[in-house]
Amino acid sequence: MNALRRHRELSRIWASDRGWRRPFTTVNHSDLGRMFMLAAFFFFGVGGILAMMIRAQLATPHSAFMEAEVYNQIFTMHGTVMMFLFAIPLFEGLAVYLLPKMLGTRDLAFPRLTAYGFWCYVFGGTMLLLSLLAGVAPDGGWFMYPPLSSTLGSPGINPDFWLLGITFVEISAMAAAVELTVSILKIRAPGMSLDRMPIFAWYALVTSLMILTGFPPLILGSILLELERAFGLPFFQADLGGDSLLWQHLFWLFGHPEVYIIFLPAAGVISTILPVMARTPLLGYSWVVAGAVALGFLSFGLWVHHMFTTGIPHLGLALFSAASTLVAVPTAIQVFAWIGTLWKGRPEMHMPMLWIVAFFATFVIGGLTGVMVAIVPFNWQAHDTTFIVAHLHYVLVGGFVFPMLAALYYWLPQVGGRKRFFKLGKTAFWLIFLGFHGTFLLLHWSGLMGQRRRIPTYDAGSGWELINLASSISAFVMAIGFALVVIDIATNLLVSVRGSRNPWGAASLEWAMPTPPPSYNFASLPLIHGRDPLWSDPKIGVAIAKGEGFLGAPRGNQREILTVSTARGTPEAMVILPGNTALPVVMSAVTGLFFAGFLFKLYWLPPIAVVLVAALALKWAWSLGHRADQGPQPVGRDTTLPLAAERPGAPAWWGSVFLLLANATLFGSLLFGYAFLWTIAPGWPPPRYLDWMPLLPLLVLAGAGLASPAIRLAERRAAPHVGLGVAAVGQMLLLASALWLLAAAPDPTGHAYGATVAVIAGYAALHAALALLLTGYCLARLRSGFVSQARCTEIRIARLWIDYAGFVGIVAMAACLAPGLLQ
């Protein structure tokens, strides 16, 4: 087969639908990555307009531009939009678009999941925007502290939009994190071992794992606060055994890692672009990897430094102050590696490099003021002042927006296939860079002079007038700069001449394909021999196009990719990916009904939505697989491999593993909250604890003890029907015990203890029901011939969930009965 015919065949197989259906049915990672990034930039524009409104309000004392109530909504939505609807989705979009290309493959592991995540993001974000247009936007700050955000402080619908809208959007983050983690670990070009992986993939891996473990505490907090608002479960009300500080713990358990979730992808972009601009490999690759991992996970030990003024004991302050100073070390390692790379190479000052220089100048200042606020006495002085506003903008704009602008200019020729011709970007750069520092450098001083954050106005004669006026003028200069970037990008994309394939002389595989990229990325999957494939073999693109790699012979309508062993990159199996479908957009719309039901207090709607989502999920899963063993498949280069579904360790199994990791983090956060209330909150002990229930442990242990061995029996195919049947009985016992615990719980509205027991029991019941559903699904697949000795991925996945449901049942029972026993 010649290259042209291969291109036509692969284009037919991998193409998205044409016309208006395309955005709704595409599951192609390039399409979805672009859609993610476009939506994120749209929300950046919205957040930017809100920022300009804030600066217009604060430009002069006693401004009449906005009422205080409107101002509260504007600053709350500015923070919310920028953090949840711009920064995280932009990372997701960039990673979804770039990673398969960098990793030398044709798509991500779960294309439909990417599409589902995208639509959850769009629908959730739209929900928040509608609240703004309707004048009922959240107004309690982007951190939603109760009691300000509970029914005591905000009886209206405003905080519900935040709690439900953000949780809806977070589905997108979790979906992307599972997708990216599995793809980076399992879906790479053959030969791409971990030590040959592009540095951006390391950063994306750490970021994805951080999302999986960082977002669940916030999701839990949002669920608890919404339960308090909707049904009166008093988790955060001190007079009923709750504690508003619990929210702060849960929020900042998410909120601090969030800063690094935002920074690390940007650092990955810098580690990718800077060596290309400096024309030399990255200095200290292994140190940079270690720095990224250390930074990511040290950041989970810092959350209390956002709570230094809440009256927590001195020892707690000292522990988290020490940890906060420590995090500067891995950051500095990366900065020194970048400086060393520049020193070693011969840097060229193109547009991406200009933005990287801006990053250095800005982020280092933000990092140093970060060390200042990590020191407790200074923190007490600067807390809630505009000094913190300045610090966080230096970190987030310097550490994320500027590197993303570098990324925009660096990958623009790859996305559009055009050579940059119009030079408006340089003018835009200076307007943004000078406008940014004019806006925020001065706010350090106004903060030190005592100007509080979030105030809608201030008195004349406070000494802050000139600073605020200069800051506001600079902010508008910056906004003009961003508008020029949009014009620059649009004109270059639309009217510039076509460019060459690898204009920067880069080393990574995304430049080894035609630009703009074809829907299938690579005509054949390359065999990788080093970390910089295009530098070691500049002709690799030709070999790929000639079909000299793997999967160079298209078959039927099959969208084929390979899985590899995690560490060494040895080919393991072939995966056939699903094609275009509207299922993700339909399922995310139905998911939206669940949230809409709670938002508008139509409590009959969420159960219907749950049933519909479950039905769609079953349809989703049912469409995959074969009714007969396919055996080893030829994949090119004289190699045959089994299908991934016909061997252990399929991508779907790993997806469940990482989803369970996130799920276990949520459960752990729930137990942490329970222990926190029990030991710290005022208003304990409650009027009564659960009495000892001797039959309950027997029921739980019998359920878990039956289900786990039985599913193993089914997996070994010794007696699959019997094994699945017994596992179902075990799940029923677990479900019954969880419901019994729920019924026995003290009044959930009377005290936080009863509320917590109800949530723990509900969580256990949900997981028992889920495991039961999966067991039933496996039985149906078995009866329909989709499961055999070789094809039993469904049962392997069910085993994971059944084991987890048993574990949850036992821990939930012990946690709920323990206080009564210890009393």
Partner: protein, 106 residues
């Protein structure tokens, strides 16, 4: 996948132990340990310093385990893992040293 787990293990163990000692601090405050003397110091101080010592020993044990020359087949993975394990020991000493002197529940 064990190679990936090995990279992340040292720093995750630091996180778990750091959070565990912080939880022990909260538990001790809740149970009134600072008011109970154990020799020259309070029960709370003794428990926290003991926990710190145990945490350092555990983290050092992790370093010993991952630093063995046959622990990983990939030089890069080995180097990253050992670097992170050393960092985790340093982090354990540095981040928990306040348990030795800071006032515990005030």
């Amino acid at each position: 996948m064990t190679e990936v787990a090995r990279i992340f293990a040292p720093i995750l163990i630091w996180l778990g132990l750091f959070t565990g000692v912080y939880a022990l601090h909260g538990l001790g405050c809740g149970l009134g340990w600072p008011q109970q003397d154990l020799g020259p110091a309070s029960l709370h101080r003794v428990a926290l310093i003991a926990a710190w010592g145990v945490a350092i020993l555990l983290q050092a044990a992790v370093l010993y385990l991952v630093a063995r020359p046959w622990a990983s087949r990939s030089p890069l993975i080995q180097q990253v893992t050992v670097t992170l394990a050393i960092s985790a020991v340093v982090a354990m000493v540095w981040t928990l040293f306040p348990v030795a002197f800071a006032s515990s529940c005030g």
